[in-house]
Amino acid sequence: MIPQAAELPWFAALPVALLLLGGAGLTLIGSIGLLRLRSFYERVHAPTLATSYGMGCILIASMIFFSVLQTRLVIHEVVIGAFIVLTTPVTLMLVARAALHRDRLEKNATVPPSINQPAT
């Protein structure tokens, strides 16, 4: 049982519950995609479901919960959201380029050759 939840009116509790369920469900779908997709380059895309909509839903739920509970605007979760939204493309781009580099070094036939070096 949540200690403060009894003080929460229904018009705040209902969106919080729905947003939590939706965000967690989207995160779970993204992780299942990470588990089930076949090649690495497909798998890179799946977790972004968690870092965009899943994270957004859960952070908005937290914001609504604390704002209604403390009767003031509590939006410091925006910091986490902005940070994750900014860093996820950077890290995934770095990892994907590293993987491409490794595949090309191994002369793996599934990746296209570099434009700068014509295929031999």
């Binding site: 509790a13 939590l20 779970l28 890179v44 994270m55 509970l69 979760e77 890290t91 770095l94 990892v95």
Partner: protein, 93 residues
């Protein structure tokens, strides 16, 4: 009534996030190649951060928010360092 609905939805959300963490852990342990493990680790820390936010809602304190922020910061640095290691074979040249 609404407190009960919120409590059950929170429990369900936490279970789903824990299951998502299990999926990511499985990918880290099994991942056929090193880059799969790095992407699994990236997913794992994002899921752990979301789980900490839901713990913060359950307990009603702001302490968990700071823990989630620290996890987000350190996770980015660790994933960037691991990607650099995959690319070059060393982190600091």
């Amino acid at each position: 009534m609404t407190a009960m609905v919120l409590s059950w939805c929170l429990l369900l959300a936490q279970l789903m996030l824990a299951l998502a963490m299990l999926c990511a852990t499985w990918r880290v342990l099994r991942g056929p190649r090193a880059q799969d493990r790095v992407v699994g680790l990236d997913t794992l820390y994002v899921n752990a951060m979301l789980l900490l936010v839901t713990f913060g809602i359950r307990s009603g304190t702001q302490v968990y928010f700071e823990a989630a922020l620290v996890i987000a910061l350190l996770g980015f640095v660790s994933t960037a360092a691991l990607a650099k290691f995959l690319m070059r074979g060393e982190v600091i040249e």
